[in-house]
Symmetry: C2
Subunit: 105 residues, 2 copies
DNA sequence: TTGCTGATTGGTATTATAGCCAACAAGATC
DNA sequence: GATCTTGTTGGCTATAATACCAATCAGCAA
């Protein structure tokens, strides 16, 4: 694999890695419906706000989210909408796994 | 977040996490064109064959790939085809990041 | 049987990730 | 200014991921 190819896949992996966590996938799903402040997401997820804040910064750093401060609150939203389309295929794999497991039992 | 929701996102994260590595994204891309044996992928990637074998088992364990042994060789292929469609959106984020960086400079 | 090829598994060192608490920063409100 | 609310950052520990080498396993062939 040459350097150019490696760079291309590293750039892609950075994005995928940023999504590779239950809370972060949940955040993406929530933001598909519109912007949310950190406090709302913290309530929904039920983790420490510092933890949620770090998840959000991972997604922002990857270019998936953008934020905007208004008053005391910081609102996050999706920067590239198509992200949500990914879920349909992920869900297809999940379903396929469920069926495979059912077949074994 | 209730237990059911948490389980759903954990299942999804398992799949996304399995893809979250440059070599594994490369493997998925290669297999989109048809099955490959471990030796071919090892050559293409240029890592130790034990490393490639482990990447493949991560993808298989997640339900993304399936394998078949024929003679001495083990062939891997995509189990759920739609996985490849994910790349178009990932690439959109990558491009968006490139443009944002260009704007800064 | 012996040896060869292709692939997996075990061991290990290095590095990255996750989550909490505590401390701090930025606005709003009194 | 004092204080409350909302978020971020630093520090820490625990856990997971990565990659290599070495050893092993499985199938083929001499």
């Amino acid at each position: 694999m040459d350097a150019k190819t490696r760079n291309r896949y590293q750039a892609r992996a950075k994005i995928v890695k940023a999504m590779a966590h239950p809370s972060r996938l949940f955040i993406i799903d929530q933001l598909a419906e519109g912007e949310r402040c950190v406090c709302e997401l913290t309530d929904l997820i039920g983790a420490d706000k510092s933890t949620v804040s770090k998840h959000l910064s991972v997604l922002k750093e990857a270019g998936i989210l953008e934020d905007e401060k208004r008053g005391l609150k910081v609102y996050y939203r999706l920067r590239v909408k198509c992200i949500t389309r990914i879920f349909s295929c992920i869900e297809a794999v999940v379903q396929s796994n469920v069926e495979a497991n059912a077949a074994v039992v």
